[in-house]
């Protein structure tokens, strides 16, 4: 506090001054099972212009912290400790007093842009409301400011869009509008709670840019709450890692990424699939699940999952303290940046000194699954049988309009002519942003109905032509694992009934069924004695394992996986990916793996197809495509993905795509990507004409690599890493 005025709510900090100071914050919710101790002692100082990330898995207390700081926690929460804004205590203020700070001194960007804006008011109404609440001014002036704010956050044609309702905005645009609202009154602190989790990667990259720009414009300090370690690496100056309501490691972003001291942090970093990992390196498996914060046992809450845990870890909870020598000995090889990491690297671990001294890495601490090679993979691809062939597949939907009067007004070209092939023992990854048609493709394969055009051949048969018994038999060979392990398991059936259901449907005897269920439970790494439990008693990762067991019950040949790990926490996700890898090798399965996370695809897939607006734009061997992407869309997609490596993130050159996915009801003529294509802009006028008029076919650019661009060879090559 160096400057004159002190009343909280007005700006009075110079760069580097502490704006927000949190001390010994505890948040407890009463519940029937006992007190839920969501946050148990959190300290941090936030300086003007600085970005601090709070990282943790679901239930670690990171979102509760942000709501407590804003005073938006539920009334039942008991909060103790201290939160000081510009040196003034704000934790004891009532709603009226906090309302004067919220939106002015502190503002917030929430996770889900689809539900965070009121659907019945225009975007402009809602921004104007935020402006006029804190700065009374004539409506005309406030609307003018709202337009300027929308312009600042990169909404095209803000003059017109300010009158739009939230549902007329895409997810990314809504999140921009949220950011516009958050910076409307030049706040000192912006809390962003998972601001890009619900967005596609190319949109995420845009929104993160906007957030950085907003921070530059306002000079605000940012608290970035996220589970995405890639985003943290690119955005944060400092990082607080939370586990079971406690900060377990705190330090500069380089300290945390290059010199982690707490086994949990190390495991978390080791369990992220990396886009820049050339060969298949197995992921760290952090066994078990985060503990419930009701009735925590004594000792370190991570001890049950920590392979290093010793006697004292089970009895006393370690304090968050600095461990000397962290500067001298590096844990992992990182760039030379000691100067920036002088103070404030603390870890809550009894064994941190040992971790630092011995330079332990995740491969030293956690069990690492060896990549299993299946017998099939030794056979050259051409000699293996195809299990799924898709050729010229089209699926068009009628576009209906009107609530009072429904009528057809056009056609949605959801999938518009694609060819794919999956051979035995192979994983084909299908990637693309939401709305690109990947889920439609998957449903076409499963539906067994004739598509609008083209053919689908499963194990040499045309499912649409099969009837009765033959159809049922083919169903057995083709199974699906769904995205949401909560929604895809009937909560009122026991695990036994869930896994046995496909067996019963196919007439297995009782005795065989029981034996098979037990076998399956063991196969997917669940305790067979838990078969009589209900899905609600399992964690997300375990539920997904139940879903996999159900899919495997009938010994299928082809497994279709629809975003199977996207709903899971990072440390849990790694376990499921490793399991899928292992199952494929052991059971000789083939996967059609749909995902939007390109890092996961790189990790698990053999071949990859990139979809854009119903067409495949690049297709081929996974390493060839990732190491040498030739289509401008693939290049942009890869460059948009944050890599959990701060040094790489700082020096990376990003291709930011302009705009958003065009509507599949009105795709551009010629090349569908041309409206957003950075390569087209660099072409001479005469060549650009060709992009508009002529749809490019998939052209070979390598031995097993095709790309649908007229000008595959004309452009600079952008490395994925640096």
């Amino acid at each position: 506090m160096t400057t004159a005025t002190t009343s909280a709510g007005r700006r009075r900090t110079g760069a580097g001054d502490v704006v927000l100071s949190v001390r010994d914050l505890h948040v407890t919710f009463p519940s029937e099972a006992g007190d839920v101790r969501a946050v148990r002692g959190l300290d941090f100082d936030l300086r003007a212009g600085e970005t601090m990330a709070i990282v943790g898995e679901s239930g670690s207390g990171k979102s509760v912290t942000s709501l407590a700081v804003m005073g938006l926690h539920p009334a039942s929460a008991q909060i103790t400790g201290s939160v000081r804004l510009h040196g003034e205590e704000i934790l004891d203020r009532d709603d009226a007093a906090m309302s004067k700070l919220r939106g002015k001194a502190m503002s917030m960007v929430f996770q889900d842009p689809l539900s965070a804006l009121t659907p019945v008011y225009t975007v402009g109404d809602q921004i104007v409301e935020a402006i006029q609440l804190h700065r009374p001014m004539p409506a005309a002036q406030a609307w003018k400011e709202a337009v300027e704010l929308l312009d600042l956050v990169g909404i095209p044609n803000p003059q017109a869009r300010v009158r739009s309702f939230p549902h007329e905005f895409s997810g990314g645009m809504r999140q921009r509008a949220m950011i516009a609202m958050a910076i409307a009154n030049d706040p000192d602190v912006i809390i962003a709670d998972e601001p890009t989790t619900a967005l596609d990667v190319t949109i995420q990259a845009q929104v993160l840019e906007v957030l950085k720009r907003a921070q530059r414009e306002t000079g605000a300090a940012v608290i970035m709450i996220t589970h995405d370690l890639g985003v943290v690496a690119g955005m944060a100056d400092r990082v607080t890692v939370m586990y079971a309501g406690r900060p377990v490691e705190q330090g500069s972003v380089d300290d945390i990424y290059y010199r982690p001291q707490m086994p949990y942090t190390i495991g978390l970093l080791g369990s992220v699939p990396r886009l820049d990992a050339a060969e298949r390196q197995p992921l760290a498996t952090v066994e078990g699940n985060p503990p419930s914060v009701v009735n925590l046992p004594p000792g370190c809450p991570f001890a049950p999952r920590c392979p290093l845990a010793e006697e004292q870890c089970w009895t006393t909870e370690p304090a968050l303290v600095e461990h000397s020598g962290s500067l001298a000995r590096r844990v992992t090889a990182g760039p030379d940046s000691e100067a920036a990491t002088v103070a404030g690297h603390a870890a809550a671990c009894h064994l941190a000194d040992r971790v630092v001294r011995d330079g332990l890495r995740y491969t030293d601490i956690f069990p690492v699954a060896e990549h299993a090679w299946s017998a099939l993979e030794q056979v050259p691809r051409e000699q293996r049988q195809p299990v799924l062939q898709i050729s010229g597949l089209k699926r068009h939907y009628p576009l209906m309009k009107g609530a009072v009067l429904r009528r057809r007004v056009g056609t949605v070209y959801a999938v518009d002519g694609i060819d794919l092939e999956v051979r035995e023992g192979e994983t084909l990854g299908l990637v693309g942003e939401s709305g690109c048609g990947k889920s439609t493709t998957l449903m076409e394969v499963l539906n067994f109905l004739p598509p609008t055009d083209g053919t689908i051949t499963v194990l040499g048969k045309n499912p649409a032509a099969l009837r009765g018994r033959a159809r049922k038999e083919l169903r057995r060979d083709l199974q699906i694992v769904f995205q949401d392990p909560m929604a895809s398991l009937d909560p009122r059936m026991t695990v036994f009934d869930l896994i046995a259901e496909p067996l019963k449907a196919h007439g297995w005897s009782k005795a065989d069924t029981a034996a098979r269920v037990e076998e399956l439970m063991a196969t997917v790494g669940l305790d067979p004695s838990h078969v009589n439990r209900y899905p609600g008693q399992f964690s997300g990762g375990q539920r997904q394992r139940i879903g996999i067991a159900r899919a495997l019950a009938l010994k299928p040949k082809l497994l279709v996986l629809d975003e199977p790990v996207s709903a899971l926490d990072v440390s849990i996700q790694a376990g499921v990916i490793n399991l899928l890898d292992q199952l494929k090798a052991e059971l000789g399965l083939s996967y059609l793996f749909v995902a939007h996370d390109l890092a996961v695809i790189r990790h698990i897939a053999d071949r990859v197809a990139v979809m854009y607006l119903g067409s495949i734009v690049e297709h081929g061997d996974v390493d060839q495509v990732y190491d040498n992407p030739r289509h401008p869309y693939t290049q942009a997609l890869l460059s948009a993905i944050p890599i959990p490596d701060p040094e790489t993130e700082r020096t990376r050159e990003r291709i930011l795509l302009r705009g958003e996915l065009p509507s599949p009801a009105d795709p551009p003529s010629g090349c569908k990507f041309r409206t957003r294509c950075p390569r087209k802009l660099a072409l001479p006028e005469s060549d650009q004409e060709r992009c508009v008029t002529e749809p490019p076919p998939l052209l070979p650019v390598g031995t097993d690599h095709t790309s649908a661009c007229h000008f595959n060879d004309t452009d600079r090559h952008v490395d994925v890493v640096a």
């Binding site: 309302s99 965070a116 804006l117 309702f165």
Partner: protein, 327 residues
């Protein structure tokens, strides 16, 4: 656009035609107007009864389909809804009764719905507090008491009030009574007669809609956009009133529109016990009086109400919800 409206109206017309025709066939085959005269004392000659029934197209000796055809052509060509066995033409009777029903239920139901929405929204913000629990209890009490019991209680209380004060403030027989000769006496008289039935309708509707609105409001209160509004700096109360209430009114709007038909035909007890001769009462008396044409006309009116309600609810949603309006 016009083509779609036309198609929709045509749809409705077909639906109505089928429903009304089925009702006619059911009523004409089940109701027995002849029984009204057969037991008369002194006995009426059978030929007289038969010719009277035939003149009214009510004789069960004429084949059902022939009667149906006669009735149908009458309705379609002359807008003649037929004759009741004793009381003359059905059409004018219904027209008069619709007026009575509208006068009876408009204030009571609109007031009750408005009150219910406000009370429901307010109790949602006080979830599990004493005020919420008290109102929940009262609403459920009103809900679970049959309407005629509620009416009796109200009438007893009003009588006690009249006796205690010596005025005849509350009237509860019919629409009008002895009108004084001071200015505005007609209006005062009507209000005196309308007060109690309106109170009953308000209570019943408010109890019902407060429960619906409370649940809708609770959903809206927990929603992200209310949190966003508060994060902008709106105090809790204003965030709730401006953002949660408006959004949670959308489903109530459709519900209200759909309840139009039940309002008209569902206030039977109120009409009977307060001697208002409206549509609800007519539904009962026409069936009791073996009045085939009256019963069919009531069913037709109910059908029109339902379809008007459905259309109204579509427009209501379009008006309240921009997500629908724009698309």
């Amino acid at each position: 656009m016009g083509r779609f409206i036309l198609r929709r109206l045509l749809n409705y017309a077909v639906l109505l035609f089928v429903a009304i025709s089925l009702t006619y066939l059911l009523a004409a085959s089940q109701l027995n107007p002849r029984s009204l005269w057969e037991l008369a004392n002194p006995p009426i000659p059978a030929e007289t009864i038969e010719s009277s029934l035939r003149s009214k197209n009510l004789s069960d000796e004429v084949p059902l389909l022939q009667r149906y055809w006669t009735w149908l052509t009458g309705v379609l060509l002359h807008w003649d809804w037929g004759e009741a066995p004793r009381t003359g033409d059905v059409g004018p009777e219904i027209a008069r009764r619709i007026g009575v029903s509208i006068r009876l239920i408009t204030i009571g139901s609109l007031g009750g719905i408005a009150l219910g929405v406000l009370v429901g929204a307010w109790t949602a913000t006080k979830q599990y507090k004493i005020s919420d629990r008290t109102i929940t209890f009262l609403a459920l009490a009103i809900f679970s008491v049959p309407v005629f019991v509620l009416i009796s209680v109200v009438q007893v209380l009003a009588t006690n009030f009249n006796d205690a004060t010596g005025w005849r403030l509350f009237e509860f027989v019919g629409e009008t009574g002895s009108v004084g000769d001071y200015p505005g006496a007609v209006l005062v008289d009507r209000i005196q007669h309308l007060a109690l039935p309106t109170l009953v309708l308000v209570l019943a509707n408010a109890a019902f809609f407060s429960r619906i609105q409370r649940n809708l409001m609770l959903d809206a209160l927990g929603s992200d956009f209310v949190r966003t509004a508060r994060a902008k700096g709106l105090p809790r109360r204003r965030a709730v009133m401006k953002h949660a209430l408006r959004t949670s009114l959308i489903p109530t709007g459709t519900y209200f529109a759909f309840s139009v038909a039940t309002l008209f035909l569902g206030s039977t007890f109120v009409e009977v016990l307060f001697s208002f001769h409206g549509m609800g009462e007519y539904a009962i008396t026409s069936i009791q009086g073996q009045d085939v044409h009256g019963a069919v006309a009531v069913a037709a009116f109910g059908g029109v109400c339902v379809l008007v309600g459905a259309t109204l609810s579509d427009f209501m949603v379009a008006a309240l919800d921009p997500r629908v309006r724009v698309s």
